[in-house]
Symmetry: C2
Subunit: 363 residues, 2 copies
DNA sequence: GTGAAAGCGCTAACAT
DNA sequence: ATGTTAGCGCTTTCAC
């Protein structure tokens, strides 16, 4: 009768695992004592504690995590899902931004004792319904995202961006999109650009809508014509097409060619640079280039491309910290968190001293 | 007494969730009946089944997955870890190959009812020790990988590549590295190349060691001098340096410049192409280029770059199928699986009709 | 300082 | 056809 389950129906795998009760029996102690010894709780004599530990080690005991979690009432499991890309539910990892956000979220949560489960973009109830998730992180939900509603309806806490603000059970951490746009535009303006053009996806993500609005405000404030080209679809070809449109020159602006390009869409910096060059531009000679991107290739082009980083690691850190606080201390009161971006200025957006025309002294 | 736990110590979260017993009480039925009704098991009258379901729906009942899994003796949770990148444990997602392998593994396993937990590259016991993993997929372990040993010692089944062959509890699915190399070399040879050079990382991964060996054999078989340049470190700059070395011309080969370049290291195709051009080569005019890569930018360069795809989706599919078979039917007997690669021929490796010298008619 | 027993929420064997 | 009950493996209260 030292053997397995008289009732249970689990398919008999290799060997019946060593359980707490087995260790207890072997050591001549009770389950309670062994449990306390192993967890460092309770008041036990050092000898007993050591004996329990030694026996457990010798028998190769490994506590059953599922049982622990059932007892604890918390699965220590969180979901991670992205709102965009619903038509290609796994493509998000090929975006450097999401790849890094995903990795950073997994890393941070694991360090805090929560395992992260990867869910397909735009996934529905059925995908996570029997998944014991303590909470779900929803990265960049689209406007009126079904996922968020479904999760909240299932009483699963949601951690997302500001677009979920005000809903009970939803918490947010967001990128300072407005600040980012202003910083980038201020930078190219300082470098002498007067006709910047923005390339931004046609998406309902909070980030993109905010970028669009911030750009409009900035242009109005600086008396600069508002030039925007929308990217119709995800992927490099669409962004390249948008860049071509952007550089074709806006008839409404007297056909004057832009002198700075701010690409907010996810695209490969080398490909954007190539496209700009094919159109006869010299970067940074007659066109300054800034890309919102986490792509490391930006550092290795010639010239290197200035990027605006959304700092995915910082976002993940803040999001998980918030999640743990809520889950473990019920900290409902805190407001959201705004994560600042970082502009990495490289040669592509620094106007070189101009030898022709009105030359200024080099700094 | 309809309320919560007299014994348990879980921190009181929002509202006590609806349990099976609550539904049973409300519907005036027993737990068994409701459970059977919800799971579609047992023999129940249609009315009772419907009543149970209706009540559950009305009360917003969601079964506790942890309890189910404890009962079932299986957590339906698998780990995923990569062997390389141990010094930058989360960088692997920035590699298009691993990004796609990771996504595909998550997708496939979820479809089969297993949630995938992302683990840091090279992670140790402590990272997964209390994680209720039914199995772990170890992607591209390095030689003598600690991870594999630790997992097997903890009696967790391991799914990996052929390097784990023969160990009890370890199963494999592998890329046909040899076939891949031969296919690529045959291709450039057909296109007229006679002095191919291989660029490959200095890694102990099974894939890379096999690539190296297959290349050696192929060169011997074809009476071609064996030209190999090792990449010293991960990342684009190191690969670019290796490419430069490769194209500098091997003194031992009479300084003759290579006429084909096979880059097996993970690198950005546009950057490799730029590097080759900076060295004065014309692709495909005097140098054919083939990259082992899943990077989509390869299709969008000018000319597009021929790639050898390792078909991560196919690998994931095969690996998870194997995993499920072993976990659910104890299928220990099957041998491993070899996944063939796919060569996507694009302009960078197709010798154009040569107008100068010995011109041939264009096809 | 140590152990017996309850119970986390669920499913299945066994009555009825 | 439906209900009673045991038990998955663990932690914790409580009594000794």
């Amino acid at each position: 009768m030292t053997e397995a389950s008289p009732h249970g129906g689990q398919p008999s795998q290799p060997l019946p695992r060593v359980r707490l009760v087995d260790v207890a029996r072997e050591a001549g102690l009770s389950k309670t004592t062994v449990s306390a010894a192993l967890n460092g709780t309770g008041r036990l004599s050092p000898e007993v504690r050591e004996k329990a530990r030694e026996t457990a080690r010798r028998m190769g005991y490994r506590p059953n995590a599922t049982a622990r979690r059932l007892r604890a009432g918390r699965a220590r499991l969180i979901g991670y899902v992205v709102g965009e890309f619903a038509d290609a539910p796994w493509a998000f990892l090929e975006s450097p931004y999401f790849a890094r956000l995903t990795a950073a979220t997994a890393a941070t949560s694991l360090r805090r004792g929560y395992a992260m489960v990867l869910l397909p973009a735009g996934s529905l109830q059925s995908e996570w319904a029997d998944l014991a998730l303590d909470a779900v992180i929803v990265a960049d939900p689209v406007a009126d995202d079904r996922i968020v509603d479904d999760l909240l309806a299932a009483r699963i806490p949601v951690f997302s961006d500001r677009s979920v603000e005000g809903r009970p059970g939803a918490y947010w951490v967001d990128v300072d999109a407005g600040g980012a746009v202003r910083e980038a535009l201020d930078h190219v303006r300082e470098q002498g650009a007067r006709r910047p053009v923005l390339v931004v996806p046609d998406s309902t993500t909070r980030f993109h809508t905010e970028v669009f609005a911030a750009h409009r405000d900035w242009c109005a404030a600086h008396g600069v014509p508002e030039r925007v080209v929308r990217v119709e679809a995800p992927g490099n070809p669409a962004v390249v097409r948008a860049v071509e449109t952007a550089l074709a020159g806006d008839p409404a602006a007297d056909g004057a060619r832009p002198d700075a390009l701010l690409v907010v869409a996810e695209a490969s910096p080398p490909l954007v640079l190539d496209a700009v060059r094919r159109l006869g531009h010299d970067v940074p000679g007659d066109l300054l280039l800034v890309c919102v991107s986490e792509d490391v290739t930006a550092e290795h082009t010639e010239p290197p491309v200035t990027t605006l980083s959304l700092r995915p690691e910082a976002i993940a850190e803040a999001g998980v910290a918030r999640l743990v606080a809520v889950l473990e201390h019920g900290a409902r009161e805190l407001p959201g968190v705004l994560v600042p971006t970082r502009l990495d200025v490289r040669a592509s957006s620094v106007r070189p001293p101009q030898p022709a025309c009105t030359s200024r002294p080099a700094t």
